[in-house]
Symmetry: C2
Subunit: 278 residues, 2 copies
Amino acid sequence: MSSTLSTLTLDRCAVHTRTNKPWSLARCCEAYCSRGIGGISVWQDAAQAAGMGEARAIIESNGLRVPAYVRGGFFTAHDAADRTTALDDNRRLIDEAGVLNAEMLVLVVGATPKLSLAEARAQVAAGIEELLPHAESTGVKLAIEPLHPMYADDKSCINRTTDARAICERLASPMLGVALDVYHTWWDPAHEAEIEKLGANNQLFGFHVCDWKQNTGHLLTDRGLMGDGCIDVPGIRAMVESTGFDGMIEVEVFSESYWASDQNSYLDLIVDRLGTHT
Amino acid sequence: MSSTLSTLTLDRCAVHTRTNKPWSLARCCEAYCSRGIGGISVWQDAAQAAGMGEARAIIESNGLRVPAYVRGGFFTAHDAADRTTALDDNRRLIDEAGVLNAEMLVLVVGATPKLSLAEARAQVAAGIEELLPHAESTGVKLAIEPLHPMYADDKSCINRTTDARAICERLASPMLGVALDVYHTWWDPAHEAEIEKLGANNQLFGFHVCDWKQNTGHLLTDRGLMGDGCIDVPGIRAMVESTGFDGMIEVEVFSESYWASDQNSYLDLIVDRLGTHT
């Protein structure tokens, strides 16, 4: 695969604020900008801590693109009233994404214990359908992020690219696509075929990179940086780029151990791994 | 689903020795027998600690069925010599299963970091094909256990029932089927359809029950007992039994917290949950 791999320049890369969780939005922006990283994907907590207007000003003054605002979704609930509240929250998230000039809102679609996965999946499709007009009028794309099956209990009932793509096919809006995160999808035998189909249908909106560590110690916060684990990230990037994908390569790593380390050294390591293992 | 559910009598149930890890094979046998549990699935460590001949005698004297010997597989490796060693190990496991009158050897097929999943899957199919004649001559069935995608790094490259069944279809031996464990497969949108196909083709050899806990603390050893989590175990049992499955319902739970508790009380709880949440 590596022979077909393009050189990855930092201006095509973005880092999620959550990756450098100890840092404020302003520190993230300055640090990414100082390394020549081209973009920042903004988590709601980081933006709200700065204030939305100030957040926009900080990002613009550093000349950073914002591929994604993170994260909407969580459409599922036993009660209809809770599902309505979730839709209201999502409309606010779309508005906030618009303020930040974010290109897409990432959707972690939700799952609810004791609600069947079939019912949850139906609620997700219905929720996204109801949300789409607001996304279309605001100009913020919606990207379903299929989550690893180990999150099917309470975070996402959409666990394969196939199932995310099926919702896109059904709702058929140019504003609806998929954010592919290697952590969640790398194991899937249909991975390459699904990437090809997403590309052919202009439904591949986002591409997130990190790694799966052997002996992962925690289901949520022990991800690896590219090269720390067993995912063939360069091979997957080659698949993604062969579809004509020209979005940013987004680094999204949740890691207690990296969060506990010096964030400047960590960012240097991220930059290094973007060059050597991505 | 529960309306179509048969009453589950303990004589149709088995417990894996690993579920009561602190106990010896003899203590497991006596305890299961005393509750009226009909079977025991034997892990190699428990049998070897007793000695294979003594293990057989203990099991027979307690009148227990042995649905499964656990576990063979681990076919994948970078080096051909290691794959040959793995096949030799599997032949010994089949022989040991034969000594214990176990009905099947469960296969956890393996995965190897830095070996592509596609290559690993090919090695697994080749390994099982090579192993089948020995299984056929010994009369011990082989059951591929698809493992949850969170084990795709170093334990199993077969992560969905679909993919386990594909190998069964390809090798087409009445001695090769699938051991379905709800922990690994419950999230799969194709779950019910796959169970139906396995049943129709006489490929559903084993059925393992436990539960998926919210906020699972460890990827390997924090499983729940039926009713502790979010899996609709009775619903899945109804699916399984609607295919005509008449094998044993096997309780397989890896749990540091249950292992640390009083094993007799824990076994009483297992018996209770088999009645109320299975």
